[in-house]
Symmetry: C2
């Protein structure tokens, strides 16, 4: 189980060998993983292309057991090797940790990493449901407000599903750790500088007819945490 | 040259084959790359570990020609193959693009991708300078305010340098693109929901002696954009 912790490195690696099989782990780590995946909407997907790792940002949607991804990003990698394992990383940065010494500086963050072989979702109903999950994660309320995908659009979209079987979560929180070191006597300020991400005021499409009301599910997000 | 643009996919892949050699490209793309790298401080590093891509968040610092990274993240990968190419991706999310149709929804973002074989910096002066760049990118002013690394700390830190030779930048901006489609007649609101990331109010270390003043270079960041 990984609990909130501080580490020496600024944002250290989670080695794959240290990962937990989440289904076998009905613990806080599982709740932490779910919370991190629920809090974000952008992940960084790592795939192999011609033997070289390629890291691309993309939107995702998470259910209790599945991560949905847009497929275009991984299509080349999947075409080359349908059994290739990918890595999906979701990172939320919470604060800079400003210590008395540069060496003890770090970042407080929450990070989830998921490994697996993605499956191309072909069943139209499953695909529609996966796209709904993906859409609602980033833009809740839009699935029912906007025009939903038609058959042609559905066919033009590749959706990938990644089982949340092999995953890890790492959370670092709290103040700097050098208060009790000799550096604590330097008289320097130390603490955290929070990073606050919020949704701003909706900006209407300039092409929108005047007087088109902003729906409540969009207007209500202004000022709320991302 | 890649100019600000909108694309169909939510956050589409930049294929390595479409990358530009930046040194040969004295163009807007180079200025865009520099701007994206200057705006961020967290990257996602993709390395190969036992044949599988691993994507880890880490801090970075950029100069005109070099990206500096903490080495712990890539050390296993480097140890296995010192000539292995890594991918470093920096992503800044600017807004959700809320269109009339779910299919046209997307994300406005700025993204830089850098490929290369990282070099371990061993020369003590170069290492100190690289660490200064890395520290100042995330926490400007702290290098001179906090205690700088001593010899022992310097030896305990692995610093990697990645030349900015092979890189791409992608910027998407602007409103949704379905105003002129039949969906424009649906009477739905459409536009952007900005994501605003700002530095918050500094939180003092609870162990700090009362009355320790927040230095101006930290206090002055509160409320400014990340």
């Amino acid at each position: 189980m990984e609990t909130p912790q501080r580490t020496e490195a600024l944002l250290p690696v989670t080695e794959r060998t240290r990962l937990r099989r989440m289904r076998e782990n009905g613990s806080t780590a599982r709740a932490d993983l779910d919370a991190v995946l629920a809090a974000g909407f952008i992940c960084h997907l790592g795939v192999l292309v011609d033997g070289v790792p390629m890291v691309v940002p993309t939107v995702y949607g998470a259910t209790a057991d599945t991560l949905y991804l847009h497929g275009s990003v991984a299509s080349r990698s999947l075409a080359a090797d349908p059994e290739a394992t990918v890595c999906v990383t979701v990172t939320l940065v919470d604060s800079l940790v400003l210590a008395r010494s540069v060496f003890e500086h770090s970042v407080n963050y929450r990070c989830a990493m998921v490994y697996g072989v993605p499956r191309v979702v072909t069943d139209p109903e499953q695909k529609l449901e996966g796209l709904r999950v993906l859409s609602e994660q980033a833009a809740p309320g839009q699935w029912d407000y906007a025009r939903q995908p038609n058959r042609k659009e559905l066919a033009a979209t590749t959706l990938l599903a990644l089982a949340l079987d092999e995953a890890s979560v790492k959370i670092s929180a709290g103040p700097p750790e050098d208060a009790d070191s000799p550096d604590g006597e330097l008289g320097l300020w130390a603490g955290e500088l929070p990073l606050v991400a919020r949704w701003g005021t909706p900006v209407p499409d300039p092409a929108l007819p005047e007087g088109t009301a902003v729906p409540a599910h969009i207007a209500g997000r202004a000022g709320t945490p991302v």
